[in-house]
């Protein structure tokens, strides 16, 4: 077992104990319903209203969902996962509510609880159904609102609730705070990696995540080596290094905003013009696409996914790579929230091309890519493991069909989930991070 495998095994053990840390908030059923309704109302906007009015219940979204495809369980039809939200809209907010109300059941606490596994275990908010709907309905933003309603009602699954509370109340994720970060960096420095911490001013701020610190230190080291090679004025802020936003995953709107605002304030104080989001899909969505909305103003810096940054530097000729000459082939897994929901499709492929690797696309790629099966915090939910494994099998089949030597991706959470799925099924195809490949092949 190599260091990364050992770290992953330890990380998996810590995931298993997450749920035990939760302190449940006592709440009456009426209060749960009241809070969920308030969150639904404040979360809906004109786009969602039009979408809810337009749905013809054709059921085609089921065919886009990896959980439905893996199980053929009709409850996993994406539009069905939104049923409480749809009913709330119909009763309380629709232009025809005066007519619909007598014919539309009120929400109940039992119903909200029943929807928890559908919204958290059986949906990763991947947005594949958004690409499918013949009416043009975007379901994934409404899944976020569903999660916000359930979170307001105290119905987030225990494991996700635990890490959400941890980040909200302590500012750490998976127990990783400044001390743990410094410890990891110290160990990397023994290998010659230089990570400039807490510079007062820097052009670029690089973020990392607890998962990188705990499991994929190689990605953090690779990022540092690349920055060092580029000679950029960069820093990593110990007070604002965490790119993960668990509030976004859990549906905890206040926690999401708090984490984003803290990050934005600290980075802005550093005067950086660019922030590099590490290889973590949802972190890119949280800062690049939701960051300004949560901060309440346009961001004073540009936000780049690490793969975007690498592509920009390679294409500009500033980052010289030594192309691989052994004829190795790779396939690329698009993290949903960087790709389909973030628009980062071609940049990682451009880097892989510059590395001289043969890129073999999976049958479903880019906007149609399948989720790894554990995105949006799903992989921390213990009870969802069997379902997750079934979804992973779809992904595995897609990877295997390419015949590529290695799977490459730009998301540490996808890597964790793929590694767990591989471990459970004896799958041995290597899964690598893009930055690692780049750092290993820097031109002399």
């Amino acid at each position: 077992m190599n260091g990364e495998q050992g770290a992953l095994a330890k990380f998996r053990e810590s995931l298993a104990a997450l749920g035990e840390r939760v302190t449940h908030v006592e709440m009456s059923d009426e209060e749960r319903v009241r809070r969920a309704r308030a969150a639904f109302t404040s979360g809906l906007d004109v786009r969602m209203a039009v979408d809810l009015e337009t749905c013809i219940h054709c059921g085609m979204c089921a065919e886009a969902c990896h959980f439905y495809e893996a199980t053929e369980d009709e409850r996993y039809t994406p539009i069905f996962k939104l049923e409480p939200l749809r009913r709330h809209y119909r009763r309380e907010l629709s232009p025809m509510r005066w007519l619909f109300r007598p014919f539309t059941r009120k929400l109940s606490a039992a119903e909200l609880a029943a929807w928890q596994p559908l919204v958290y275990d059986a949906c990763t908010g991947c947005g594949r159904c958004d690409m499918m709907c013949p009416m043009g309905i975007s379901l994934s933003p409404m899944i976020n609102v569903m999660r916000e309603g359930l979170a307001a009602a105290g119905l987030v699954p225990d494991e996700l609730q635990a890490i959400d509370a941890e980040q909200r109340d302590h500012g750490t994720v998976f127990g990783v705070g400044e001390a743990e970060l410094r410890q990891r960096i110290a160990s990397l420095e023994k290998d010659g990696v230089v990570i400039p911490l807490d510079k007062d001013r820097a052009d670029v701020v690089v973020l990392t995540t607890a998962v990188e610190v705990l499991v994929f230190g190689s990605t953090l080291a690779a990022t540092a080596r690349i920055m060092q090679r580029l000679g950029r004025d960069w820093t990593l802020l110990t007070a604002a290094f965490e790119a993960s936003n668990v509030g976004l995953l859990a549906g905890d709107r206040a926690a999401r905003r708090q984490a984003t605002r803290k990050l934005v304030e600290r980075v802005a104080a550093c005067g950086a013009g660019t922030v590099i989001v590490p290889e973590t899909g949802h972190a890119y969505q949280a800062l690049r696409w939701e960051g300004a909305n949560d901060a309440g103003a346009a961001l004073p810096f540009e936000v780049l996914a690490l793969s975007e940054f690498l592509a920009r530097e390679v294409e500009a000729g500033r980052l010289q790579l030594a192309p691989v000459t052994n004829g190795a082939s790779v396939t690329y897994h698009d993290p949903c929230r960087q790709g389909r929901q973030g628009g980062v499709f071609e940049e990682p492929r451009s880097v892989l091309k510059a590395l001289g690797l043969e890129l073999r696309e999976t049958a479903s790629n880019r906007r149609e890519n399948y989720c790894c099966g554990g995105g949006c915090g799903e992989y921390v939910i213990r009870r969802a493991a069997p379902l997750r494994q079934k979804a992973f099998e779809i992904k595995k089949h897609e990877f295997d069909s390419t015949g590529a030597d290695t799977v490459v991706t730009s998301c540490a959470n996808c890597r964790v989930n793929l590694a767990i799925g591989a471990d459970n099924s004896g799958w041995t195809r290597p899964v690598r991070g893009l930055a690692e490949l780049v750092a290993e092949n820097l031109a002399d």
């Binding site: 013809i56 065919e63 009709e74 043009g136």
Partner: protein, 217 residues
């Protein structure tokens, strides 16, 4: 006042009023919902182009995801097309539109219209049966899903019966056909038939929202 007079007179006027007022009310009410300004920096600023593109592309067949939904997808196309043929190109219908709009257009042979209407009806019945038996559709369906299909199916059926002089006196069957169409008009703004009006903004906004992130929705 005969049944036919009623169907041609007050029933038609009131159903058209409900149709127009209801459609305007529901579309305006939906579009006046809270608008959230997206403060993120757009990767691409071609919202109109991206929105209009998705209006077209989501109408196109052979979607890469639809390996298992061919019947539903193509039957949907088929019944919409055959229904429009029967509604728009049957000579008596054209006369009705001419009385409303002040102009008409050439019709199609009656036999062709009859076949179109029959195909529409057959597909609608198949879709209702499928909705009731397919686990996914049964789970996500509500009364609206059945009522909306039924009102269209009944209007089509009564049209065929009155055309073929089956079931009673022609005037009576014509009145029943008109009343069934008026029932459709009345139901239209309240049920999912409203997708006729709302599908366009829904597709547009999906294209524009994803487009600003650089994704071709």
């Amino acid at each position: 006042m005969t049944l036919l007079d009623f169907a041609r007179g007050p029933a038609l006027q009131w159903s058209l009023f409900i149709l127009v007022f209801g459609v305007v009310w529901r579309v305006a009410g939906s579009l006046l919902f809270m608008l959230r300004k997206d403060l993120s920096k757009a990767r691409r600023r071609k919202s109109v182009q991206d929105g209009m593109t998705v209006i077209v592309t989501r109408s196109l067949p052979a979607h890469p995801f639809e390996k298992r939904i061919r019947f539903q997808h193509y039957s949907g196309y088929a019944w919409h097309i055959t229904l429009f043929i029967a509604v728009l190109f049957f000579a008596p219908h054209i006369l009705f539109f001419k009385s409303l709009l002040g102009f008409g257009w050439p019709g199609l042979p009656n036999g062709f219209i009859l076949i179109s209407a029959a195909v529409t009806l057959a597909i609608l019945l198949a879709l209702i049966i499928r909705r009731a038996t397919n686990p996914v559709l049964r789970t996500i369906s509500n009364a609206d899903d059945y009522i909306s299909v039924l009102v269209v199916a009944i209007a089509t059926l009564t049209g065929i019966l009155s055309f073929a002089h089956i079931g009673g006196r022609y005037e009576t069957m014509l009145a029943i056909h008109l009343l069934s169409v008026e029932a459709l008009f009345v139901w239209f703004p309240f049920g999912k038939l409203m997708h006729t009006a709302l599908v366009w903004p829904a597709r547009y906004q999906a294209g524009a929202a994803y487009g600003r992130r650089g994704v071709k929705a």
